[in-house]
Assembly symmetry: C2
Homo-oligomer: 299 residues x 2
Amino acid sequence: MELRHLRYFVRVAEDLNFTKAAAALRVAQPALSRQVQDLEDEIGVDLLLRGPRGVTLTAEGKLFAAEAKQILANTDAAVENVRALARGEYGTLQVGYAPSPTVDMLPPALAAFRKAVPRVTVNLHDLAGDEITAGLRRGELELGLMVRPLKANAEGLTFEPLLRVPLVVACAPNHPLAKLPRVKVHQLLDHPLVVFRRDDYSDYHHMLNEVFLGQSPPRIAVECDSMSSLVTEVAGGRGIALVSRLAERVIGARLAFRSIQDTEVFQEVGLGRALKGDVTPAGENFCDYVRHAAKKVKR
Amino acid sequence: MELRHLRYFVRVAEDLNFTKAAAALRVAQPALSRQVQDLEDEIGVDLLLRGPRGVTLTAEGKLFAAEAKQILANTDAAVENVRALARGEYGTLQVGYAPSPTVDMLPPALAAFRKAVPRVTVNLHDLAGDEITAGLRRGELELGLMVRPLKANAEGLTFEPLLRVPLVVACAPNHPLAKLPRVKVHQLLDHPLVVFRRDDYSDYHHMLNEVFLGQSPPRIAVECDSMSSLVTEVAGGRGIALVSRLAERVIGARLAFRSIQDTEVFQEVGLGRALKGDVTPAGENFCDYVRHAAKKVKR
DNA sequence: GGAGAGTCATGCCCGAAAAGCATCGCTGCG
DNA sequence: CGCAGCGATGCTTTTCGGGCATGACTCTCC
C-alpha cells in the first residue's frame, strides 16, 4: 500500500464518482479504477459499492476514508515541520544568559523573535558565567548571551561581541564614594569589595585582577552567588562593587553608581556558542534578532 | 512521496547504515540509496549525513524519522481498524431494547460480547415498543431486542423470535385474585386494568384485545409510560395488570403473579431489525451472542 | 604507507507496474 | 429504443523502482 492509493481513494470517496475524481487527480479513469481495486484487494475489504450512477461508500469505506485523510494530512504536516525546522521556524532552543548585562537586548529580541517565529520555543536559563560556558561545551546550551569569557575559559567556544559596557562602581547611596562625581582606581582600595563567587564567575575575577593591576590587591568583603545578593550586601554597607554599567538598569535607585576615571576596562557582552555542536537554523535565526536588538541598544 | 520512502528512510534511520537497512528491507543497497535521495530531494532538506563509516541523522532527520514512524504506525492501524470493522470487532452499535422481557438474556449476552469484542461499543437505549420500531425504521437503531410487533407495526422490519413468554396477571399481594392459585380470563373483568400507554405500546394493546376477544372490554384504570410506574399503580391497588412472566424477575416481591388458565397468549421476545439499512458485522456478531444467551434462558 | 575492508554513490539495464487509450457492459432516462 | 453517463476490462506505452557492476572515499591494520 502506498500513499498514492490513499490519495486516490480519498478523492473518490469525496467525489463518489471515478470519472470526476480521475480528472481532478490528472489521471485517466481506468488507472484510478485499478488502483482503488488494488487497495481494496490488499485490505481485503470492500470500501465502495459501484453503481451505474456513481459509487457509494460502505461503512468500512467511510471509516477508511476518514483515517486515510488524516494520514495524508499528517504526512503533509510532517514534511512541513521538517522544512520549518530547516528554515529555523520550528524547534526548541536552549539559551543560557547572564541577566544583568543582557537586560537591554534580550527582552526586545525575545519579544520580536517570538512574534516572528512562534513555533520555536525558547527556553531561557539564567546562569552564572561559568555555568554558561560549561553548558555550551556540554551541548546542553545552544547559545549563550554572556560576557566574553577570557582565554582560559573560552576553550572550544566562539564569542561574538555585540556591546561594550564600561565598569562602574556601585556603592550604598550614603557611602563616601557616592559623594564624588567620579572615582579613581586607587580610591577603591580604601574600601572592601563585594564580589561574585570566584567558583562560578572566574572571568569576573580575572577582570578584577586587570583593574587592580600594579596596585595592592583589594580586600574582599564577601562573595555573592547572584546579582541580587550582591546588591543587598552593597546596599547594607558591606562594601563597594564593580559591575557593568547596564546593571544600573536592573538595580535602580537602591545603589549609587559612579564611573571610574582612569581605567579602560570594559565588559564585552555578546553571543557565545560551542565550536562544534551545530547551532540549529532556529538558533541562527535567534542570533539575528539578538544582534538587531543589540544595535538598537547602542544608540 | 510514497509510503515506500518513509519505510525505507525509517529503516535507515534505525540502522544508520544503508547496507544493513537494504538487507533488512530485502532490496539492493543502491535502490535504497536512491529512494532516500529522492525523498531528501522532494522535501528539500538533508536528513542524513553520509560518512564513510555509515550515516548519522541531522536534526531534521531525527524529527522526520519520528514523524514517519508515527505515520507508518497510523497507516497499519487504519488498515487494521477497517478489517476489524468488517469482522465485526470494531465500531459502535445502537441497540434499542425492552427492559423487562429481555432481563434474562440481555445482561449475559452483553457481558460475553463485551469481553469477546471489547473494541465494539454497544449503546443501549431503553425504549417503549413503538419507539424501537420507529428507531429501526429511521435507521437510528441497528437492532432491537423487543417483543414481536404485530403486522401493522412490522412494516419494513424483520423479527426473529427467540423466546416465548406467557402472560401472567400481576396484582397487589393483598388483592382478592392473589388468593387463587391461578385465574381465568373472565375473572379479570371484575377488576380495572393498569396498562401501558396506548401511544407508545400499541402492540401491547393489540395483545390485550386478543386476550379479551369475545368478552366485554375491560375497564382501564390508568395508562402508564413505564414498567416502574405500572408496578407502583398495581401495588397501590389501582388495579391489576397483564405482564410477561419474565417481568416477575424485574419486579420481585412487591406484586403477586398468577398464571392465566384459559388463554394461549404469549409474548414473543426476539431480535428486530430494519429490512433495508444494513446490520453491520458487529451487529451480526452481537446477534449471535443474544441468540446464545436466549438458548440458555430457555432451559 | 600500502592493502584491504567497509561504506555510500553512480551508470546501465531490465522488468514490474502504473498510466493511457479504446472499448465494453450496464443502467436509467427521455 | 437509443443515448448518456458510469465503471470495468484488454491491450499498449511509459515510467520508475530494482538489480548488478563498479567507482570513490576513508579508516584500519599490518
